[in-house]
Symmetry: C2
């Protein structure tokens, strides 16, 4: 009667956990604090203890559980090892083996952005599709690629690092990754604010935007109000992101792009500006790719982590 | 005693065929003319008849043959169907089913560029690697992507269309695909000639290059001779291609790039100019990807086609 699975999404502040049935219905979710002290050595034992406590609470035995999936913020190789996860204090961690020893159950591990993509495929904006690119527009730009229903990891665990594809030769500021001109510098929440400041400095046009209260939300609210300067910023955002996703399509030819993260809360208007630049720049074969908004929000990680053990 | 396989590479002028053992040793190769008359309806029957004749010549029975792989110049879906192959006169062709009926043997079909990538993985410049991007710099720029030893097809058969990723907003000429600013317009043999003409028109510097006899070969010969104008052209070629491959790496994170086609006959100098622009623009995780020259030349297609039936 093994019918349940757990999804664990390890973040720098909290560890999110979810209990699912194998059809993908979330039965419970909760969080524990991420203890990054002592090189993060408590993080996985804390998560494991929390899972075992939940099983006791629900009267579940190990035989009821298909497995535990874990998403972590760092590159994960095919064996479930993380080479480095700065936010957690880890230099190297065999997530799969450590959790399997702690729990005595089947464990799979993956990169958090990739796992979130799998979650959106399973129960989110990408339902019904097996070839998907998920793009998370938050503080940075995250990406996850699903091919035939499986996460594309890449040989170094760096596949889907869409936020760090080079899109602008003229950029002089350095990205967090050390390069210059990365997509993340233009199409993340912080990137949109950067674009807004530059655009407002360079224009004489009147705008309802205020340099003191700039955010991705304020920019897209102003776009919806018809503000010319905000529209100019949205065009730049769309041009960088739409053209970059056109290149992604030229490489992997997906069925669907699922756009999530804080920026996507602006809604369909985001997709309009992306598609405006995607369509004329993409290879004809991929012109009809679907663009959809993510629907799982911060739960995408626990959904996708749980889904990993069902593959 | 099924130990052999055939590889068939259908081109617009000739159909190349090869007989291989399952370890990838080529035992024989030959060609037949491509009859594009009558909507190309003779092409597959001619190829099938040629295979059956070769089996008779070699005293091979159907039981000796593991299968027949066929590469065709068009997008091929997962069922082995081509939606369109202009060079062959085909609008739709179920290559796999047609050949299986003609031969009574197992058949697989794939896009020619993807199949050539598989050939380079099996017995060419990518031997020993299972995650590979093959780039063919010929009249156009072809691409093929191998993930975990298998061709990445894409949902429309358009994965690996690296020649048509957008790299230049300022381009005014239209690419054969209908878009403007495709990689192929700058890094193919014809693209290099275009770059050379533009560079020579814009410079006052002396050069050994002659506008009457421009080719990718003459440009790279002049680079090797230290010609300043030729070096400027090579820098532009390398910048477009190196940055585009850095984006490809950000998407799929391969082990190795295998560079082939006529332009690659210039040798290692090609790789030097590509890597010069790849390294500073790629996400750090993929910085150590290997760059190698293709080694199978025009035989890559028959090698890869044969390899398809061994998967």
């Amino acid at each position: 009667m093994s019918q349940y699975c757990f999804g664990v999404d390890v973040g720098g502040t909290s560890v999110k956990l979810g209990l699912f049935d194998k059809e993908g219905t979330m039965l419970d979710k909760w969080e524990v604090k991420t203890r990054t002290t002592e090189s993060g050595t408590h993080i996985l034992p804390d998560a494991a203890a929390s899972i075992l406590a939940k099983m006791k609470e629900k009267s579940l035995s190990k035989e009821d559980i298909l497995g535990v999936g874990v998403g972590v913020p760092g590159p994960v190789d095919g064996a479930g090892c993380v080479s480095t996860a700065v936010n957690l204090g880890w230099s190297f961690m065999n997530v799969k083996a450590t959790m399997e020893e702690l729990l005595g159950m089947h464990v799979e591990a993956g990169n958090d952005a990739n796992v979130a993509a799998l979650g959106e495929m399973w129960r989110g904006g990408g339902q019904g599709h097996k070839n998907l690119v998920a793009v998370t527009l938050g503080t940075g730009v995250g990406g996850g690629i699903i091919i035939n229903g499986h996460i594309l990891t890449g040989i170094n665990g760096s596949a889907g690092e869409i936020g760090h594809v080079h899109v602008e030769d003229a950029e002089t500021e350095v990205c967090c990754c050390g390069n210059k001109g990365c997509l993340e510098q233009f199409s993340s929440a912080t990137g949109i604010v950067r674009l807004a400041k530059r655009t407002m400095e360079a224009t004489q046009k009147a705008t309802i935007l205020s340099t003191e209260q700039l955010s991705a939300k304020s920019v897209f609210d102003a776009v919806k109000a018809g503000d010319e300067v905000a529209i100019e910023i949205a065009e730049q955002f769309g041009a960088y992101l739409g053209k970059a996703l056109a290149v992604v399509a030229g490489v992997i030819d997906p069925e669907i792009f699922v756009i999530g993260g804080g920026v996507s809360k602006a809604g369909e208007v985001i997709l309009t500006y992306i598609k405006k630049y995607y369509i004329p720049n993409v290879f004809v074969g991929s012109r009809n790719a679907i663009f959809a908004l993510a629907t799982l929000g911060n739960d995408a990680g626990i959904y996708g982590a749980a889904r990993m053990v069902l593959e």
